[in-house]
Amino acid sequence: MTLSIETQHDIAELKPASPVTPRAKVNELWSTRAISIATILIFFLAWSLSAYFKLVSPVFLPSPLAVLWKFYSVAVNGFVDATLWQHLSASLIRVFAALFFSLLVAIPIGIAIGVSSIGRGIFDPILEFLRPIPPLAYLPLVIIWFGIGESSKILVIAIAMLAPIAISTASGVRGVSHDRINAAKTLGASRIQLVLNVILPSATPSILTGLRIALGTGWTTLVAAELVAATRGLGFMIQSAAQFLVTDVVIMGIFTIAIIAFILEVGLRRLERWLVPWSGRE
């Protein structure tokens, strides 16, 4: 028989195909990137010039350098009784605590919606009710019920994260290939084994997408939640600075939020590549 030949043939097939991106595509990618960088540079240049020539009063538009300096001064000396790191960590802890509780609730709900019509009947209307409501609308109600403590802030963010995670989980669950489920069934998998070993891993890419959307939503909600009765946090810092017209801290706070959001996005993409390297490659 020709088994040895066969094996060699298969090994040859194993080598990953060399990435053949057309040259035009590469050029296009680079030129887009160059345009983006130029846009950012022009933005900062215009900002510097208008600050330099005092086109706008520095009270309203401090120079980029002043803002950069604020990063240092708030990091070292603090602002409204807390350093930049303390504000930042207060905010991050809120977002991640909310994310944790939200995942704990939303993933089972998403699975229930995806696998059972009873689950869908129960949770669909609840999610459809919650989804379009801006978190700021139910923030007062949450404060009436749970006070102005840390738990209210976390709860508001968690509620805002609930719908995107649950909906993405459900759509991932519903998208699991029938062959995959049937294969597990004919190998003797029970319903629970099917959910844990086949459906949940299959839905992971979709859950991660939901998580990414949820983090965006959570980050947006955070600032709003911190506008009410907080003593620490990026939102609180910005709000306090605005009240004293310390515009450079306001702008510095905005940039901090943008930078953190960017880092989270990159981190999540890394996590995706590590957790579901098979996604899109089947």
């Binding site: 028989m1 020709t2 088994l3 066969e6 094996t7 298969d10 097939e13 194993l14 990953p16 290939s177 062959d179 995959r180 049937n182 294969a183 597990a184 069934k185 004919t186 190998l187 003797g188 998998a189 084994q193 070993n197 086949v198 891993p201 299959s202 992971t204 579901v276 390297p277 098979w278 490659r281 089947e282």
Partner: protein
Amino acid sequence: MPHLAVENISVHYSGQQWPALVHASTSVKSGEFVVLVGRSGCGKTTLLNVVAGLMKPTDGTVRVDGKLVTHPGADRALVFQNDALFPWLNARENVAFALKLRGISRKERGEIADRLLGLVKLDGFGDKSIWELSGGMRQRVGLARALAAQPAFLLMDEPLGALDALTRERMQTLLLDIWVESKTGVLMVTHGIDEALLLATRIVILAPGPGRIVREIEVGFGRRYAKGETVRSIKADPAFARARAEIEDSIFDGETV
């Protein structure tokens, strides 16, 4: 010896002109290699799904050793046209999954899985990710996974249908080798008449509109391979061509093609 009996199976899909299957009866014994062939819409995949327990028939029963089949079970593991592997597991873990469902200890799983991968000529590929494997290799992992369930009957739904012609020929002899070694009963659906002739001990021919079994033919080419004859010499035998013509006649029912 395990015996799978298909008795009077009918399947009606609502809203379809013809029943997918009417009064289909056949059987598979251990050591038999039964192949279902027929034109599209003849209900061969429907029949296989009913036997697997994935589909409830409108009428009729499937029994394994007298016991009524109502659900899918590891005694009737199914191999799919598209491997249906789990991409988050490597090749070895995919096979080990079936062992885990059988309650085999973690320690033993790896060893048995490697042995089964060896059986499908994938020695040393256990650590490979699924997406690194070619179509033929993935199909072999799927086969090893089904064998890991130690099924009394191995069900296959066009397992070689998505492969290129050369890979398919190698897989056919591999299927024969495994069938000879494991002595399980096999029930397979295929489009290829040559494939059916080479592999089967019995060919069940179905026809559409409504889907039904029209004929069963005993064949012995697979057994000749098991006794050591080469595939080339079997296919060169005029008896092979005659059997082929006979089956084509039955499938197309005298229509000129």
